[in-house]
């Protein structure tokens, strides 16, 4: 099992108003991902998950600065690559699926065209060949009658189908890593399960590593091998899914798990986490979670906790973590 992706100490900041406002969107994040495994990145809006994904792709909006750390993909340092080298990686070795399929597809071009252009750009396939391959890819994402669909426009398809097309585009050049940023959030509930199933199958068929960004712990439980929990730009817990769910080390993770409504017990109350996620441009001192933490102690208010190893391949950022029984 080779390490496909290794991220260490990664920080990405947004700088606004001529350097006076710094938003630490991603701060000192470290994790690794092996080939064929699935990592779930969980967090509320504003926790930095999407910025993290865009940083891996090195496709950040203006005003964003990579402030530190490194990313190694297939052993190569991403940050030393030139623009054209990055472009060769994007779409070909690393692919991404975005949240809203209607917005992701250009309304003026057919679905087939949009799949084919990736093939033609990366593999210099001639037009005919690319078109045929596009049709095959539509079949691979389980779209019926692909030879007809390939000539259709995005608005002629349903939401679920469009997202499959986006999936087809993503796997078209046989990438090693697929990053999916909330791919099912825009889909109807009934379609979501189907889509997740599809992703699972594709992953197995192609030995694809996946990073699954979501705020839905249920999906994480079903789809992922490891999970990384983000809060206010920091990775507050990382570990295998089973372990995290059974014995979460960080109070935030614990609260997230407990806030999932459970069927079957009408007397159990719905628990919510008090307060709001902090403004990333104005984080509280010490541990960013301390204002909302039920287990807060004085140290938390002053010093930000470092990453502590709780168990094998399981770490967390909490002053109380190392004191917990393993």
């Amino acid at each position: 099992m080779t390490t496909l992706l290794e991220v260490s100490g990664l920080s990405t900041h947004y700088v606004a108003a001529r350097g006076t406002r710094v938003t630490r969107a991603v701060e000192d994040v470290s994790f690794s991902l092996e080939a064929g495994r699935t990592l779930g990145i969980v967090g509320e809006s504003g926790s930095g998950k999407t910025t993290l994904a865009l940083t891996l792709m090195r496709l950040l909006p203006p005003g964003a600065r990579i402030a530190g750390g490194s990313v190694r993909f297939e052993g190569e340092d991403i940050f030393t690559k030139s623009n054209s080298e990055m472009r060769a990686i994007r779409g070909k070795r690393m692919a991404m699926i975005l949240q809203d399929p209607m917005a992701s597809l250009n309304p003026l071009f057919t679905v087939g065209d949009q799949i084919a252009e990736t093939l033609r750009a990366h593999e210099q396939m001639p037009r005919r060949g690319a078109w045929t391959r596009a049709r095959d890819l539509l079949a691979a994402v389980r779209i019926a009658v692909p030879e007809r669909r390939v000539g259709e426009y995005p608005h002629e398809m349903s939401g679920g189908m469009r997202q499959r097309v986006v999936g087809a585009i993503a796997i078209s050049c046989e990438p090693k890593l697929l990053i999916a940023d909330e791919p099912t959030t825009s889909l109807d509930l009934t379609i979501q399960a189907q889509y997740l199933q599809l992703l699972r199958e594709i992953q197995r068929e192609r030995d694809l590593a996946m990073i699954f960004i979501t705020h839905n712990l249920g999906i994480v439980a079903k789809m992922c091998d490891d999970v990384a929990v983000m809060y206010a730009g920091r990775l507050v817990e990382f570990g295998p899914v089973r372990r995290i769910f059974d014995a979460p080390a960080h109070p935030y993770t614990r609260a997230l798990i407990e806030s999932i409504p459970r069927l079957g017990d009408p007397t159990a109350r719905l628990t919510a986490i008090d307060g709001q996620p902090p403004d990333p441009a104005a984080l509280p001192p010490g541990c960013a979670f301390h204002p909302r933490c039920p287990l807060v102690v004085d140290r938390c208010r002053v010093e930000a906790p470092p990453e502590v190893r709780v168990a094998v391949a399981h770490h967390a950022r909490c002053w109380l973590a190392s004191e917990r029984p393993i």
Partner: protein, 306 residues
């Protein structure tokens, strides 16, 4: 698609109706329309005859009916000055205005679109600021003043270009520039904002994520999408140009429908004024309809609109 076209045609017909009604009512509402519609200095008998012809003693609806009947026949009266049917007069001048408008429009697009694209791709840099300045000036300078300044500079001081009349391409240069300047600014502005919007869209983001070369992203994905509103505006503006060229045509004595309108006012030739405005407005409504249909051809989404 057929449904869409039929609906648009219905709207157009309604607009035409409202337009003619507006013109009709405004003339009738000012008291005695015969004052306007009869030659200045006419004898009393002529006025009586006109009154009878207009049927002013009959109800407004009947009058409108005969007005519309005349319109359908292509009869909007006769010019006092030229003593020819105004519709004929208008149609004979129209090609000149169209020529001027086409040249001015080409100029405005050739300057406007590339500078808009450049400004959007180099947002907030020197290029963009220069573009903003250009746009601001273009939208603030009245076209006829630009024309007068051009005459001052190129005809009076340099003696390179003729200051009035038509006939050679040299005659066309200054009026087209004066007319097109404002629209160049408007098109530049729209191109810029349209491109920026498209460049920030999710599908452009995905195109970049797919690893497509930047030039392809801009030329294929951004450009076509961004151009739609610009071309729509350009089409509408073409017809508007024909109509607002009044002042430019007057300044340069260019023999188009704008100048015809001016002559109508200057010589108190009201049938000419009425016809020019009415026909000009009708042309706009029809062209808008054609643009809507064309839009449906370019943008596949529109065809399926309910």
């Amino acid at each position: 698609m057929r449904r869409f076209i039929l609906r648009r045609m219905g709207y157009a017909a309604l607009s035409l109706l409202l337009l003619s009604l507006t013109i009709f009512l405004f003339v009738r509402l000012t008291g005695d329309p015969t004052v306007l519609l009869v030659e200045p200095g006419a004898a009393k008998g002529d006025m009586e005859a006109m009154r009878a012809r207009l049927g002013l003693d009959r109800s407004l609806i009947v009058q409108y009916g005969s007005f519309m009947a005349g319109l359908a026949r292509g009869d909007l009266g006769q010019s006092f000055y030229y003593r020819t049917p105004v519709v004929e007069l208008y149609l004979s001048r129209l090609p000149n205005s169209l020529l001027l408008a086409l040249v001015a429009m080409s100029f405005s697009l050739l300057i406007g679109i590339p500078s808009g694209i450049l400004a959007s791709v180099r947002v907030n840099t020197w290029w963009d600021n220069a573009g903003k300045l250009f746009a601001l000036l273009g939208l603030s300078l009245p076209s006829f003043w630009t024309g007068l300044l051009l005459i001052l500079f190129f005809s009076v001081y340099l003696g390179w270009l003729p200051s009035s009349g038509s006939g050679t391409p040299l005659h066309l240069l200054m009026p087209a520039f004066a007319l097109g300047w404002y629209f160049a600014a408007a098109h530049m502005r729209l191109t810029r904002s349209s491109m920026l919007e498209v460049l920030g869209s999710e599908y452009v983001k995905l195109a970049r994520l797919k690893g497509l070369p930047e030039a392809l992203v801009i030329a294929k994905h951004a450009f076509k999408n961004a151009l739609i509103p610009v071309l729509t505006l350009a089409g509408i503006n073409l017809v508007i140009m024909v109509n607002v060229a009044v002042v430019v045509e007057t300044v340069f004595a260019w023999p188009g429908v704008g100048r015809l309108l001016y002559e109508g006012i200057a010589f108190r030739d009201f049938p000419v004024v009425q016809a020019t405005v009415l026909l000009g407005g009708m042309m706009i409504v029809v062209v808008n309809l054609m643009i809507d249909v064309l839009y449906a051809v370019i943008d596949p989404r529109i065809r399926y609109e309910r």
